[in-house]
């Protein structure tokens, strides 16, 4: 290893937005979700200790019995808003948080439960529950950003532990987090995956889906599910047209997009068009 002999640099400064050099107060809260995104944080076994040292985790029901209603320097919100109570709570929490980060498909697009947004919610309830009047929920499942301003979003179902770490690191080091908004295809090509669409004729939502997962599914020869949601300028119409030209029927194409991020407008548009 060659050393260029440059004199010592000062340590990276803490984020200039934070006035005091104390440990940042971090909270993790949950709305309508499966818990998988919170688990991603706990699954980062190698880094968990370092994270707990660098950050003061004041609210994280799944991990600690410390409770707090705020204030938070960073608040991670998992889950979609699907009840009146949640709609009120998210507004309260927004007031308590300097930086609010929505994590996961539920919090960023409504999740798979947003399928009910496209249907007749009353009819679903009546057909499933013996006493539908006991279910107190909104007819829609909406992302956090539909209710409050969100400072950052981590996508995925579940989110990527590496992206979460990148976000936390950038907060402490003081630089922009590298969360690129590009297609899964870019990652596939860098990794050297063979395109399942072109070479195999399979369905894959990669071209319109945001990367972040490391092109996980195509790396195992399976088309992308779109679980990180539509990327910027996602031209789902063009991809849906292509699927149609390759012989897929309308309802089959709709099913491709009616998955974890069906609530996102670019995906929802295709589901509604093909119905």
């Amino acid at each position: 290893m060659s050393v260029t002999g440059i004199a010592p640099h000062p340590r990276p400064q803490p984020n200039p937005r934070w006035a005091t050099p104390r440990r940042p107060r971090v909270g993790v809260v949950k709305f309508s979700s499966c818990d998988g995104c919170q688990l991603t944080l706990l699954d980062m076994e190698d880094e968990l200790l370092a994270i707990a040292e660098r950050f003061d985790i004041v609210e994280f029901a799944e991990a600690t019995s410390n409770r707090s209603h705020g204030p938070f320097d960073v608040l991670f919100v998992e889950g979609s808003v699907s009840t009146d109570e949640q709609a009120e709570e998210i507004v309260q929490l927004r007031r308590q948080a300097t930086t609010l980060v929505a994590i996961g498909a539920c919090a960023t697009s409504g999740g798979i439960q947003a399928l009910r947004n496209l249907g007749d919610d009353d009819a679903f309830r009546n057909s499933v529950y013996p006493r539908p009047e006991w279910i107190a929920a909104l007819p829609t499942s909406k992302p956090v950003s539909d209710y409050v301003a969100v400072d950052a979003e981590l996508y995925g179902c579940p989110i990527s532990g590496r992206q979460l770490l990148e976000l936390l690191t950038s907060l402490t080091v003081g630089r922009r987090p590298q969360l690129p908004d590009e297609a899964v295809c870019a990652e596939c090509k860098r990794l050297g995956n063979t395109c399942v669409l072109v070479a195999g004729g399979e369905s894959c939502l990669g071209p319109v889906t945001r990367t972040g997962c490391g092109a996980l599914c195509p790396s195992f020869d399976r088309g992308c599910y779109g679980c990180f949601g539509p990327r910027e300028a996602a031209n789902t119409v063009s991809l849906a047209n292509w699927f149609g030209e390759q012989g897929k029927g309308g309802s089959e194409v709709a099913r491709e997009f009616a998955k974890f991020n069906v609530g996102a407008p670019a995906f929802r548009k295709i589901v509604e068009r093909e119905r």
């Binding site: 290893m1 060659s2 050393v3 260029t4 440059i6 004199a7 010592p8 640099h9 000062p10 340590r11 990276p12 400064q13 984020n15 200039p16 880094e47 370092a50 994270i51 660098r54 770490l165 936390l168 690191t169 950038s170 402490t172 080091v173 003081g174 630089r175 922009r176 590298q178 690129p180 908004d181 590009e182 297609a183 295809c185 870019a186 090509k189 860098r190 990794l191 050297g192 995956n193 063979t194 395109c195 669409l197 072109v198 070479a199 195999g200 004729g201 894959c204 990669g206 071209p207 319109v208 020869d221 910027e232 300028a233 996602a234 031209n235 119409v237 063009s238 991809l239 047209n241 292509w242």
Partner: protein, 674 residues
């Protein structure tokens, strides 16, 4: 059978029996050389390590069509009868991810290892087996772009040297191939160590270099007979006929550049998904991005260079905006660059006709169709001049010397800081590095702190012992730079770019028109003008800002105004009652003055819309384009013309600019989304 020893006999032709291919591979693999070649993998043809002839795709073909690639089992013995797959050799010469620099501070002693500029000495030598004619052309294009410019990419040069190129002349035309149209194939003419042409019972082998001859030595080969040689030639001719010319290229660059306003771009955007597949499979695309990684404790940080694409949203982003948000603009940039402005930049077309972008586009967009629609050839044109006829044979690459790069990182010390506005700070930096002290007005540097991004910042003043930078805290990295205190260090690369042509001011009236933070790159020019006052006629500075509190260098401007050395007119967009100066746009400072401005030189800096409005006024006043100079801003990752982000038409804003005359820019100035 005579074991010929053709050492030194380049140009000789031999015949290799089919069953000896394995021996050839072993011969290539001597001296720990890694042999890379085509294989069947994941349902298509991929390039990868080849250890014996069994690994090669025997009897397998690849049916390429727009958006589709299907393997075909023919069941014969032919080894190379398939067109290219998605891989190109750039995966080895220009890898998708390369660590650029590593910074560690484990025990309190920070160390920086700059790997991109000092590539590892031990890169495994490779032999590329099965390089098609189009791919040889692509390697040469990359040589031109990456290794023969003013700042060569040393990592690329290190990976490219010492490779053996064993070419294969195509005997089948792929469904999306158009090398015949681009003048790059199908015949393999040069650029190889050995070239194989597959015929029925073996291969006609041409020797291209002594290295190739050395590989053949020890293999039982006979000189090829005339019949064998003609058979090989006929095979290539058949491919040429099969392929035809599907893209007339005569005059294409000019027509394409002139088609900037074609409605076809918006039509393509309806189909294009901007997924980046075309650019990442393209063997000549070279755009990269630099990303930062660091650990949670700040003990270690690294920067990484990765393949990027002009189709991503962030590609043209700058602090305060993005030059190419629409997909139609991004598609126009790619096609116009690849087939048009590349020619001006590098002396050849960027496209080699391999067809990968057509095959691997998930929605099957065919660039040939799009080119014909956007820039249709005039009726008479049928067959075209090939666009790569002028490329030289592989030029020797510069030797890899482990010395400082053209713009090495330099440590500077903060001597003074001055807050100009609520978010802008001027840092005065001390250094001994002469090129920085002797830099030109208008040049810029790229400062960085550990684990931080490296923005391009114009030098705002030169001193005997250093220089000053005026920095706006637009994001986290610049905020950290603004927060530096006296005594702290800042690493800087530079000076970069082409500066203001100060000699154009001599003997003339000078107008300097700027706004906001745009005064910073003009301040060194003003210093020079004032120092050479006696040789310049009238000097007029028009300076606009959003509000009085957003002006830079206010105390200095007041002093200058009082001294009368230059005329200064300041204006703001709006103000409170305490401001008794001018309120209004800066263009209207000069639009009603009665002067004959044809002897004026103008220097302008500001947001492009403001510069455009200013240029309109200057045109009305009669100032000619050769004497209107602007400085442009684009997204820069490298600053030296290698990462591709800052392109504007045929220019790299970082090295051809950032200062340009309007005459040079021509129509490139002011086109939205260019």
């Amino acid at each position: 059978m005579v074991a010929a020893n053709p050492a030194g006999d380049a140009g000789e032709t031999y015949f290799l029996r089919r069953e000896l291919v394995n021996e050839l591979i072993q011969a290539l693999a001597t001296d720990d050389r890694e042999v890379i070649g085509p294989r069947v993998e994941d349902g298509t043809i991929r390039l990868g390590p080849v250890s014996s002839a069994v690994d090669l795709p025997r009897g397998v073909g690849l049916d390429n069509a727009p958006g589709k690639a299907r393997l075909v089992e023919r069941g014969d013995d032919r080894l190379f009868d398939q067109p290219v797959g998605p891989d190109s050799w750039k995966r080895w010469t220009f890898p998708p991810r390369v660590t650029q620099a590593v910074w560690t501070d484990g025990d309190g002693t920070p160390a920086i290892e700059r790997r991109l500029e000092n590539p590892p000495r031990q890169i495994t030598k490779k032999a590329f087996l099965g390089v098609r004619a189009c791919e040889i052309a692509a390697l040469r294009v990359h040589d031109r772009v990456l290794a023969q410019g003013p700042t060569p990419d040393r990592d690329y040069a290190a990976r490219r040297r010492d490779n053996l190129i064993v070419a294969v002349e195509c005997a089948v035309a792929g469904g999306t191939c158009f090398c015949a149209s681009m003048g790059t194939g199908p015949e393999v003419r040069d650029g190889f160590d050995l070239a194989l042409s597959e015929i029925d019972d073996g291969f006609v082998v041409r020797v291209g270099t002594p290295a190739g001859a050395a590989v053949l030595a020890g293999l039982p080969v006979n000189p090829a007979t005339d019949a064998q040689f003609e058979h090989a030639q006929a095979s290539a001719a058949r491919v040429r006929e099969q392929m035809g010319v599907t893209l007339p290229t005569d005059g294409l660059p000019e027509r394409l550049i002139a088609a900037a306003d074609s409605p076809r771009w918006a039509e393509i955007a309806e189909r294009c998904i901007a997924c980046t597949n075309c650019t990442l499979v393209c063997p000549t695309c070279f755009c990269t991005s630099v990303g930062q990684r660091s650990d949670l404790d700040g003990q270690a940080a690294s920067s990484e260079r990765t393949w990027d694409s002009c189709f991503t949203l962030d590609f043209a982003r700058v602090a305060g905006g993005n030059f190419r948000t629409r997909v139609s603009d991004r598609y126009r940039q790619w096609l116009t660059h690849k087939f048009g402005t590349w020619t001006t930049q590098f002396g050849s077309s960027g496209c080699v006709g391999c067809g990968r972008c057509i095959t691997w586009c998930p929605v099957g967009i065919d660039v040939r169709d799009e080119l014909m629609a956007v820039a249709p050839p005039p009726e008479a044109a049928v067959v075209a001049r090939p666009m790569i006829e002028a490329l030289p044979v592989v030029a020797p690459l510069p030797p890899v010397r482990h010395e400082q790069h053209g713009t090495p990182p330099v440590k500077t010390t903060v001597v003074d800081t001055h807050r100009e506005t609520h978010d802008t700070v001027t840092l005065r930096l001390r250094t001994d590095y002469q090129p920085l002290i002797n830099g030109k007005p208008g040049q810029f540097v790229m400062p960085s702190l550990p684990a931080g991004a490296s923005p391009a910042i114009s030098i705002s003043r030169f001193h005997n012992d250093g220089f000053s930078l005026t920095v706006r805290a637009a994001g986290a990295s610049t905020a950290r730079i603004c927060a530096l205190e006296r005594g702290e260090t800042l690493t800087v690369r530079g000076p970069m770019g082409r500066g203001w042509p100060v000699e154009q001011a001599l003997g003339r009236d000078v107008m300097v028109i700027t706004g906001g933070i745009g005064l910073a790159p003009l301040r060194p020019l003003l210093d020079w003008l004032i120092a050479n006052r006696d040789h310049i006629a009238r000097i007029q500075l028009s300076y606009g800002a959003r509000t009085p509190g957003d002006r830079l260098y206010t105390a200095e401007l007041d002093t200058l105004l009082l001294s009368g050395v230059i005329d200064i007119a300041q204006t703001v967009d709006r103000a409170g009652p305490e401001w008794l100066g001018r309120v209004g746009v800066v263009t209207q400072v000069i639009d009603r003055i009665m002067c004959s401005c044809d002897k004026t030189t103008a220097f302008i800096c500001g947001p492009e819309r403001m510069m455009q409005a200013t240029v309109d006024v200057l045109h009305e006043r009669g100032v000619p384009d050769e004497r209107i100079w602007v400085t442009l801003e684009r997204h820069m990752d490298c600053g030296v013309g290698l990462c591709g982000h800052c392109q504007l038409g045929r220019f790299f804003v970082c090295k051809d600019g950032p200062v340009f005359s309007l005459a040079e820019l021509g129509p490139a100035f002011g086109i939205e989304g260019l």
